[in-house]
């Protein structure tokens, strides 16, 4: 069936818009929603997508590329280092243990050749980063023990793709000349040379990202055009992917590497938030495509084989994960959840199996069979999780209360500081001097670069961007300090934060009294007027210069600040309903007048009584008479 592009796009979007909310409402998560949408659209139900399903799958694999780019970006080397034991321990045991068991199964039960068994078992050992990370994020369990364990294993798997891809050419049967339709630059080379090229290319990606892309971004940011930055971000991802496909490598891998390299630059968060919407759409498309390519024909013709491989693979993966969990002394419940989460075959299987088909390790029939297996296992995982949650609901007594021990990595970033100008930087410095490293956002590229050189944790970006706030960890943080000048932008940020992150306590800089009124109206309680404290401090010093004892002046200053803050709240209430930011001159004068008349109440500080001997003397005098 030939359809116009617009019609196809419409069908996909409608499917996504209908199925995803329904799936979410039923507690199944968006992944399963997309997959079901794909199955419905696919050739076996409605037939909107026919053979082109595979093309769409290939096209939308780009969503996975973007996902890996973002995962790379999120992999702060420090965070990565903190997880190193979990990654190496969990990850290596999972990949090697699962591969070995699967290898033996394929070799003995299916009588596949050694090379095929190795290839397939390695491909099947990897889990779906897309499904798991999306699920962790949606269920909000990224920071739980199963979440961290899954993440560690996934990272190791992502890294393992590199050596696996490098090793696969060595498994190719020499002598079988491939009639290459899919000609790559290295396909003519012998196996060892291909391996060499693969590592060369990886090195090249690192070098180019580090020494070409980063300076390029510096230039682009100065142009200060959002769409140019978007274009640049897409250029990076697509460029790397193209380079990788030229040499027949996984674009996902290239993007992942580029992401890791860029993670150390100040553009990390803004790149992340720029790519995020593209990733979301394409990933949705990818899941739909996976659903649509499930070959029910193969399932129909070889039901036993398909089902036995699906069950076999998932059970083996589950058992290995459970054993590792036991080894690492995870609780039964966490262990089960981790095993369920990671039991499917991941999208890397598409990539690896594709690659091995072009290398003629795996034949077309086996490939089709394994693709079906992969897709089915992907559909089963979200369903298993639904079952898991239902079971959990019925056994509520067993629900473990998540340990209140805050996560080390994230507790360091409880504070988000927006704006690192003269005002914000003082806050940032003081906090850092006391061991609090806030996540800092600032929109001046030169300043960001300079501060980063000084070792500050500063990121380039505008706080008025919700995605960037998400990327900066606003969901997990506790306090947000808004110090941006002009106040209108600061208020814009605060409105946004209050709407999207109501749990965050906002601490705001107010330019002046009027600005403070606006903030009070917005329901902000912690307001710091930059004109109050400095001005009072100055006035206190003037009193001291004029001969008032310093401690007395200091006490009066403190009392005045308390008094003025109370007066501000009082006047804010009976202020006219002038919602505009700038008050008219007449209103300003009126306000000053009110303040000055309020000040008449501030003549004698409470403390003047304390050390005042006047009343004592007065009382003593009549007696002396």
């Amino acid at each position: 069936m030939e359809h116009s592009f617009l019609f196809q796009a419409l069908v996909f979007l409608i499917a996504a818009v209908l199925c995803v909310p329904i799936a979410k409402k039923l507690g199944m998560g968006s992944v399963l929603g997309y997959l079901i949408a794909g199955i419905i659209l696919g050739p076996f139900v409605l037939g909107f997508i026919g053979a082109e399903g595979e093309d769409i799958l290939h096209a939308s694999e780009f969503g996975v590329v973007m996902l890996l780019f973002i995962i790379g970006l999120e992999l702060d080397p420090k965070e990565f280092w903190g997880l190193r034991k979990a990654i190496l321990g969990f990850g290596s045991l999972q990949v090697f243990g699962t591969s070995l068991l699967l290898f033996l199964c394929f070799l003995y039960f299916f009588n596949w050749s050694v090379n095929v068994s190795i290839t397939v078992s390695l491909s099947m050992a990897l889990s779906s980063t897309a499904i798991i990370l999306q699920t962790l994020k949606e269920k909000g369990i990224s920071n739980t023990i199963p979440g961290q364990a899954s993440f560690s294993i996934l990272i190791f798997q992502d890294i393992m793709v590199i050596p696996i891809l490098a090793v696969l050419p060595l498994l190719a049967i020499p002598g079988v000349a491939p009639p290459t339709t899919n000609h790559t630059l290295i396909s003519g080379l012998p196996g060892y040379a291909q391996t060499f090229v693969v590592f060369g290319v990886i090195g090249l990606v690192y070098a180019v990202t580090r020494f070409v892309v980063t300076p390029m971004l510096n230039l682009i940011v100065k142009v200060n055009l959002k769409e140019v930055f978007v274009a640049a971000a897409l250029t990076i991802v697509i460029g790397v992917s193209y380079a990788m496909t030229l040499v027949g490598l996984s674009p996902a891998l290239g993007a992942f590497l580029a992401g890791i390299v860029l993670a150390t630059t100040e553009y990390r968060h803004s790149l992340e938030s720029t790519i995020e919407p593209f990733k979301g759409l394409l990933l949705g498309l990818f899941f739909i495509a996976v659903g649509s390519t499930i070959n029910f024909g193969i399932i129909g013709s070889k039901p036993v084989e398909v089902i036995s491989i699906v069950l076999g693979v998932m059970i083996v993966k589950g058992i290995v994960l459970f054993a590792i969990g036991k080894l690492f002394k995870m609780t039964f419940k966490n262990n089960i959840l981790t095993a369920l989460l990671l039991s499917q075959v991941g999208e890397f299987a598409f990539v690896l199996l594709n690659f091995s088909t072009t290398l003629h390790i795996v034949d077309k029939t086996t490939f089709d069979l394994l693709m079906a297996v992969t897709a089915i296992s992907m559909v089963i995982t979200p369903m298993l999780l639904v079952v898991y949650e239902i079971v959990q609901k019925f056994t509520l007594k067993n629900v473990e209360i998540p340990k209140q021990k805050p996560d080390e990595i994230h507790s360091k970033h409880d504070v988000i500081l927006i704006g690192f100008g003269h005002f914000g930087s003082t806050i940032g410095r003081f906090l850092r001097a006391n061991g609090i490293s806030a996540t800092i956002l600032d929109s001046d590229p030169d300043r960001v670069t300079m501060l980063r050189k000084m070792g500050f944790n500063v990121y380039f970006g505008d706080g008025t961007d919700v995605d960037l706030l998400f990327a900066a960890g606003a969901e997990k943080a506790k306090y947000l300090i808004a110090t941006v000048d002009p106040p209108s932008v600061n208020q814009q940020i605060i409105t946004l934060v209050k709407k999207h992150f109501p749990h965050l306590e906002i601490i705001a800089r107010a330019k002046n009294r009027y600005d403070a009124y606006e903030l009070l109206d917005m329901g902000i309680e912690s307001i710091y007027r930059e004109t109050l404290y400095t001005a009072v401090h100055l006035a206190v010093d003037v009193l001291a210069k004029l001969g008032m004892r310093a401690y007395t002046a200091e006490r009066k200053g403190q009392d005045f600040i308390t008094f003025d803050e109370a007066a501000m709240k009082k006047l804010a209430k009976d202020r006219h309903d002038t919602k505009q930011y700038i008050l008219s001159v007449r209103e300003q004068i009126e306000l000053q007048e009110k303040l000055l008349s309020e000040d008449l109440h501030f003549t004698l500080t409470q403390h003047d009584n304390a050390w005042d001997s006047e009343p004592l003397i007065k009382n003593a005098q009549p007696k002396q008479r």
Binding site: R555, Q606, H607, A610, P615, L616, N619
Partner: protein
């Protein structure tokens, strides 16, 4: 039941296991109000009106603090200076505290024997606390001997729990008037002694 106001001052509270146990023990009881002065008034700008109102609402005032140079940390003294004002707590018309009880609950690094005539400090805590005693007297308060946790540098974890329980016992005795009515409280130099006899 009498209501107790604990005026607490410790400049490094975060490092004090003894006072943490004491405060924790006290806050688990009812009819007790704790004022953490260093936390509430970090710049020594004590809200006098508020503190005086609290005094009016309570029957027993406890000054809880570590002993520094035979006395209290400066914020407790600041509190005394500011809150116990002329014409209110003492002097002409100053009778707002009449009939209430007051005592110090303290921790000392030195041992109990160090605070004896023969010990290295040569005087008892009660003797060192003469200024508090006289302040109480001037404000028409009844001053009780201090409750002291001594040798605080060498206390072990298990002892900390006992301290909390002892403090609770003392607080309950104060609330139930058990101390005021007992005639022998004037003969003891520390409230701790009273505790043992029960």
């Amino acid at each position: 039941m009498k209501k107790i106001l604990i005026i607490f001052g410790h400049p490094r509270f975060e490092n004090s296991k003894v006072h943490s146990s004491l405060i924790e023990a006290a806050s688990s009881l009812e009819n007790i109000t704790i004022q953490d002065l260093y936390e509430q008034y970090p710049n020594f700008n004590i809200n006098v009106a508020h503190q005086q109102q609290l005094l009016l609402e309570h029957d027993v005032v406890i000054l809880q603090h570590p002993v520094y140079w035979y006395s209290c940390p400066p914020i407790i003294k600041q509190w005394i200076d500011l809150v116990l004002s002329y014409g209110w707590a003492y002097g002409v018309g100053g009778n707002k505290l009449e009939g209430k009880l007051m005592c110090n609950v303290v921790s000392t690094g030195g041992s109990t024997t160090a605070y004896t005539k023969e010990g290295s400090h040569q005087h008892t805590l009660l003797e060192f606390f003469l200024p508090f005693k006289q302040t109480a007297k001037l404000c028409k308060l009844t001053y009780l001997p201090p409750f002291a946790i001594q040798g605080s540098h060498r206390l072990i974890e298990t002892k900390l729990q006992d301290i909390g329980l002892q403090y609770q016992q003392i607080l309950k005795m104060l609330q139930n008037d058990d101390i005021n009515t007992s005639s022998d409280f004037t003969n003891v130099t520390l409230l701790n002694e009273l505790l043992k006899s029960i």
